[in-house]
Symmetry: C2
Subunit: 116 residues, 2 copies
């Protein structure tokens, strides 16, 4: 896929990077990542998510609204509650891959420290 990207017109390539950056922007907040992992495998109501994240209800709703805008998450009403679910479960795998890179880097830094 890298070769496909480098073969694109600069304008198209920039647009693609813009889209990808928009997705990454949804992932650049710890609480949103917690939300995504909380929704991995099962849908949950806003109240449940508030308890899990230990934060206020408006705060959770705002983050959920952003994830919904980007199509990352789906909302369904059941009674008075609204249940959210992940639209793309593969997203969790992608984040895990990023986390793997991060783990390597953390290990490298600890090596540097212990060697000092």
């Amino acid at each position: 896929m890298v070769d496909q990207v480098s073969g694109l017109e600069p304008a198209l390539r920039a647009e693609l990077h813009e889209l990808t950056a928009s997705l990454c922007k949804a992932l650049n907040d710890p609480k949103r990542l917690m939300l995504i992992y909380a929704l991995a495998g099962q849908s949950r109501s806003v109240g449940e998510l508030c308890t899990m994240l230990e934060t206020t209800q408006p705060n959770v709703s705002q983050h959920l609204a952003m994830l919904k805008e980007r199509g990352i998450v789906d909302a369904t009403r059941r009674g008075t509650s609204i249940f959210y679910s992940l639209r793309y479960p593969q997203l969790v795998q992608a984040i895990d891959l990023l986390r793997g890179v991060m783990a390597d880097e953390v290990g490298r830094r600890q090596d540097l420290v212990s060697r000092a």
Copy 2:
């Protein structure tokens, strides 16, 4: 890995999400994504990157500094130039995975539009 995450103490889990979010923050800018893809497979000088990104030299330097802080990128001096390279080539694969999710979502939205 999801199960490993969900088995962690809440505090540790939050810290891990903080680290991952820090990495995502490095990816949430189109120009930084372009930098990463420009460095995929070969190292490049700041001047080269300025030409490729069509932006000013301080701008590129600032983005590179941020990527370097997070250990995403390495810098080596050769003469008067400084060459940057990707420290974790797997990062590109991870971004490609994210891009795949994005492509699915774009297709879904186009379906919605054409159906209206």
